[in-house]
């Protein structure tokens, strides 16, 4: 069993890339520039009030320039942050795609729908946090202290108001952040389940409808869909409520500043400053700065929610990583096949089943028998290197099957699974995967008759589980696929199960003709008639397990 190298669950946030840091710095700078814009505006009004001459055009130019500088800095910051976020998401996507391709067993996270949801929309949910959290945190460290200093320079009363109202925000935020993360995790789970449920129901829909399960399928989906809405609203409600509370604090803070400034300007208040009379310019400036003191804190609170959503996603990724799923041997690549030689197994044991040793020379045939669930399919998977044995060896011409030899070994194998998955494409593509399919292959699998009856012939698109074909026809497609490219060894899992006797006969005959022509044949089967036609027979019995 190969363990995936564990990486910290929180890797993406602990080591910011250069882009992320630079982007955050620029975002801070752009916010600082705003203090300049506010100063110019306050100054103009102060001058107007004092009946001093105002340089109209120069003032306008200053504001436009400063504002433009701020917008440009902001744009550059976002560009860098977006690049950093893109890079992180791309790395994770590649990791999941590659690991899932190599995995030999399904993830505990769920089926194909859940994995697709993880790679697609859940990773996308990291983006807002990557774009907003770090710059928001950096702004909180810089802007409120700077504004506090400016305020304190002019008035201790204003500074005191800000100082009192400000810190309440992070405290409250930490409290809700915890609840938010839990709610996000539940919502994420629901997203995955909904996808899984859909994938399964959709694949079976034509048959479900025929047994009258159509309405029930829709109803159960409607239920699941509404559950997801409820979960999503639970997450959003926490976010909205917390931002409302923050907005309340900031509103109260700003209102108090405004009232102090107003009364001071009226001359009603004589405390709170440093002895001078409050000038209109300064009063206005303080009022313009007050919301800017709270804004970074509110932004951080919003980003905190994005982050708790992202944390929930990263936790799911961490769980997925921590699963010790066996990998298959080799890369599953198309290489030139190694010639068929002796196939031997020695002391194979896997998941509590001990398998009898087998030895096959080219041209031999073997039947693997045993009750359902005894591990016949697993033995086939082990021989094909689709799974790694826990114990024991598989030798090909005396050489152990390994990551290095598996691909060439498999290139010489024809594989006929019991429950095939047809890829999105035509019948022909599902046999040759793009390579030309010979008439002989189709003949050998007795598939030509089937194709003739199809409206679009071998260009017919197949449902993922072979819908559009009968069970026997789908089986013959997998047989043709297994025989395509003249393999030296053909492995068939229950090739005649669920078939009518005639088709079963047809498939058995095709398999035996393959063996007679010098091919090596391994079948797992319940079908005693088929087993009797094999040269060797072994029986797997779970109760005999060590």
């Amino acid at each position: 069993m190969i363990r995936k190298k564990p990486r910290g669950p929180s890797a993406p946030k602990d080591h910011p890339s250069a882009n992320e840091t630079a982007g955050s710095l620029l975002a801070v700078l752009s916010s600082l520039v705003w203090l300049g814009v506010a100063a110019v505006i306050a100054r103009v009004f102060g001058d107007l009030m004092a009946d001093q001459p105002v340089e109209v055009w120069r003032t306008g130019l200053w504001i436009v320039l400063l504002w433009g500088l701020r917008a440009t800095l902001d744009m550059a910051a976002q560009g860098m942050l977006a690049r950093a976020a893109d890079a992180r998401i791309a790395v994770l996507r590649h990791e999941i795609v590659t690991a899932e391709a190599q995995a030999a067993t399904p993830s505990a996270l769920g089926g194909a729908g859940a994995i697709a949801a993880l790679t697609h929309e859940k990773l996308e949910a990291l983006r807002p946090a990557l774009l907003r959290y770090r710059p928001a945190r950096m702004r909180v460290m810089v802007l409120p202290p700077v504004i506090l200093c400016i305020a304190a320079w002019h008035s201790w009363a204003v500074a005191l108001v800000l100082l009192l109202a400000g810190p309440l925000i992070p405290v409250f935020m930490a409290l809700v952040g915890w609840a938010a993360k839990e709610a996000s995790a539940r919502q994420l789970q629901e997203v995955g389940q909904l996808s899984d449920l859909l994938v399964e129901r959709l694949a079976a829909l034509s048959d479900l409808r025929l047994i009258g399960a159509g309405p029930a399928t829709v109803d159960s989906f409607a239920q699941a869909s509404d559950d997801l809405r409820v979960r999503t609203m639970a997450v959003l409600r926490i976010a909205f409520l917390s931002s409302t509370v923050l907005e309340f604090f900031s509103a109260v803070g700003v209102a108090m500043v405004a009232i102090w400034v107003g009364f001071s300007l009226l001359g009603e208040l004589s405390w709170g400053g440093w002895g001078d009379v409050l000038k209109p310019t300064v009063g206005l400036y303080l009022l313009l700065l007050a919301p800017e003191f709270f804004r970074p804190l509110r932004d951080l609170a919003a980003a905190w929610h994005d982050k708790s959503g992202a944390d929930a996603v990263m936790d799911e990724v961490a769980t997925w990583r921590a699963e010790m799923r066996p990998r298959r041997l080799g890369r599953g690549e198309a290489v030139s096949p190694c010639p068929m030689t002796t196939l031997e197994t020695r002391g194979l044991g896997h998941r509590g089943v001990v398998y009898p040793d087998i030895r096959l020379e080219p041209g031999d045939s073997l039947a693997i028998e045993g009750p359902s669930g005894s591990g016949k399919t697993t033995l086939l998977r082990l021989i094909a290197g689709v799974e790694r044995p826990a114990e024991g060896l598989i030798l090909i011409g005396g050489v152990p099957l390994s990551d290095e030899t598996a691909d060439a070994w498999r290139a010489g194998i024809g594989w006929m699974p019991q429950a095939p998955h047809f890829v999105n494409g035509s019948l022909r593509h599902n046999i040759g995967f793009g390579a030309a399919v010979t008439k002989e292959t189709l003949e050998a699998a007795r598939l030509t008759d089937v194709i003739d009856l199809l409206l679009r012939g071998d260009l017919t698109r197949l449902g993922e589980r072979g819908a559009g074909l009968s069970g026997g026809e789908a089986r013959r497609v997998t047989l043709a696929r297994a025989m395509h490219g003249n393999p030296g060894l053909l492995m068939a899992d229950e090739p005649t199960a669920d078939l009518d006797p005639e088709t079963a006969q047809l498939v058995s005959d095709s398999l035996l003709r393959f063996a007679d022509a010098g091919g090596t044949l391994v079948v797992s089967t319940h079908d005693t008639a088929l087993a009797a036609r094999m040269a060797q027979r072994i029986t797997i019995d779970r109760s005999a397990a060590a």
Binding site: I115, L198, V199, I211, A251, G262, S372
Partner: protein, 548 residues
């Protein structure tokens, strides 16, 4: 655009009340925000003027400061209400959309349903509907609220301050952002479409990869399939980068519009003050209103890069929704005492008949077995009997009606077809059974399991609560078969159509199962496609099906 509009209208209609309150609250939030800043600016300047003039004692500070408090708190409350209302309404509408889509899929003809790829429908039902939730939340509501607020603010400024300032504000904020928005979304449409398409392809390929990875590995196709998925994701990322760039540039342009409008208001304010037309405090109202309205303009920015994705989604979803226009309930009353009747019925594929024309009749309580070589058309015949396929010639009459003209739901009320594929889903045995009979009680489920000789097997393994894996993993082929048959009789059908019902069962069990089915539905008509003696022995009649 038209498709998007019709979907938006459909969504809004479903949640009309909540959304109109939501819109009213969004406007309230914006209006209060503008009023708050403008009033504060005026307040500071007016108090300063009064202070300088030495008439501070006479200045009524209480009305404006109470107003400031009211606006600040009112805006906070309105924002909370608006968010909860609009989000809940939108999520409800989107959930309804998802369900309607699935229902639409169920209305498709049988052949189309057979060939459906779960992955691409999954995209339709999840990703596309999700793309549309932004249409109201981030596009329609903010845009409407923004326009109305800007108009209202301009009118107020005209009256309170000066027509010039109102014109600068109104024209600047209504025209420029709209132009930038329209131009931006035009440029963004292509990359948005590309990004979404590539993501969906990546997702489909991912589903194919996970479901087929073992087979793909043996056939040496794994790296190719992996690359396929990754390429799609990479293409999506590339398109996304372009989109982000467009988003940043339009964002900056909108920001500069705010700068220009604010400066415009400021300069005209200075001119008016110096001309003695208005007071400094009055000028402050206009300038601060301009500053505050930047928020109204910035809020639609996010929707801009999403429009391409939304229109695509709407275009794909629209037809599916229309297809599901509710049908008139003109379903004929089915005659209960008749069964199934076929007269010279046959199906042709590209002009060639699949099987020789068949005539048969199955009455209540009878069992008719279809016999014939594999591929002779028995399964097709069964599909034709329930109207999933319509005969190219001849007639089929089910309970006195033509089944291909009936909605599938009506047919399956009384006729159930169990296909060769044992369709099981992950979940408990009970959940699998209840797919066909949601209301059935536990004892009914057990009775059905008894009838198919499965009760004893399951009892020791968790009974109804035994959990099955995907596609019914955990049961042997024969057990799965019997579970599917148990599910079929739970519906107490009047016509039961079975395609190779005892495949994978040993002779003795097969006989007991067939007898159990008959016992459970004594008055039902059975039509069975079969090879085995177990079914033939029970038959009242045997009908040969032969290739044409």
């Amino acid at each position: 655009m038209k498709a998007l509009l019709s979907v938006i209208i459909a969504i809004s209609r479903a949640e009309r009340v909540a959304l109109s309150y939501g819109l009213a609250l969004s406007i309230a939030v914006l209006v209060m925000g503008v009023a708050l800043l403008a009033l504060s600016g005026w307040f500071i300047m007016a108090t300063a003027a009064a202070g300088i003039a030495g008439i501070g004692v006479l200045f009524n500070v209480f009305a404006p400061s109470a107003m400031v408090r009211f606006l600040a708190l009112g805006r906070t409350a309105a924002r909370y209400g608006e968010r909860v209302l609009t989000h809940d309404a939108t999520l409800r509408a989107v959930s309804g959309l998802r369900v309607a889509l699935l229902r639409g899929v169920l209305m498709r003809p049988h052949r189309a349903l057979e060939q459906l790829r779960a992955a691409s429908e999954l995209n339709r039902i999840t990703a596309d509907t999700e793309a549309l939730d932004g249409a109201l939340l981030r596009l329609v509501l903010p845009a409407l609220a923004g326009w109305i607020t800007i108009l209202a603010a301009s009118l107020l400024l005209w009256w309170l301050v000066a027509p010039t300032m109102a014109l600068i504000l109104g024209a600047g904020y209504l025209v420029l952002p709209t132009v930038i928005f329209l131009a931006g979304q035009k440029v963004a449409k292509r990359p948005a479409r590309l990004a979404e398409a590539a993501l969906q392809i990546g997702r489909s390929r991912m589903v194919d990869l996970v479901l087929g990875r073992d087979d793909l590995a043996v056939f040496g196709q794994l790296p190719r399939a992996t690359r396929g998925a990754q390429d799609a994701f990479d293409r999506a990322a590339e398109a996304r980068r372009q989109l982000d760039r467009i988003d940043r540039i339009t964002g900056m342009l909108l920001d500069m519009v705010s700068a220009l409008v604010t400066v415009g208001c400021l300069l005209s304010g200075i001119a008016l003050v110096q001309a003695g037309t208005i007071s400094v405090a009055t000028a402050a109202i206009g300038v601060f209103a301009a500053l505050a309205l930047a928020e109204a303009v910035a809020s639609v920015r996010r929707a801009l890069t999403e429009i391409g994705r939304m229109t695509q989604a709407a275009r794909r979803i629209g037809p599916a929704l229309r297809a599901h226009a509710p049908q008139a309930s003109d379903a004929p009353v089915l005659a209960s005492d008749t069964g199934l009747e076929m007269r010279d019925a046959a199906i042709e594929v590209s002009g060639r008949p699949l099987f020789r024309p068949v005539s048969l009749s199955v009455r209540p309580g009878e069992t008719v077995v279809l016999q014939g070589a594999s591929g002779s058309g028995k399964s097709t015949l069964l599909l034709m009997a329930v109207g999933a396929l319509s005969p190219s010639r001849g007639q089929v009459s089910l309970f006195g009606a033509d089944p291909s003209r009936l909605p599938m739901e009506t047919v399956t009320e009384s006729a159930v077809l169990v296909t060769q594929r044992a369709v099981l889903i992950s979940g408990t045995v009970a959940a699998n059974l209840r797919l066909a009979a949601p209301e059935a009680r536990d004892d009914a489920l057990w009775a059905a399991l008894e009838a198919t000789c499965l009760a004893d097997t399951l009892r020791g393994r968790g009974g109804l609560d035994l959990r099955l894996g995907a596609r019914g993993a955990g049961l042997s082929g024969g057990e799965a078969r019997r579970l599917v048959l148990a599910r079929a009789i739970l519906r107490t059908p009047r016509l039961l159509l079975l395609d190779e019902p005892t495949e994978g069962l040993d002779e003795a069990t097969a006989r007991r199962v067939m007898a159990g089915l008959r016992q459970a539905c004594p008055d039902a008509a059975f039509l069975v496609a079969a090879h085995h003696a177990a079914e033939r022995d029970q038959a009242d009649r045997i009908v040969e099906v032969a290739r044409a």
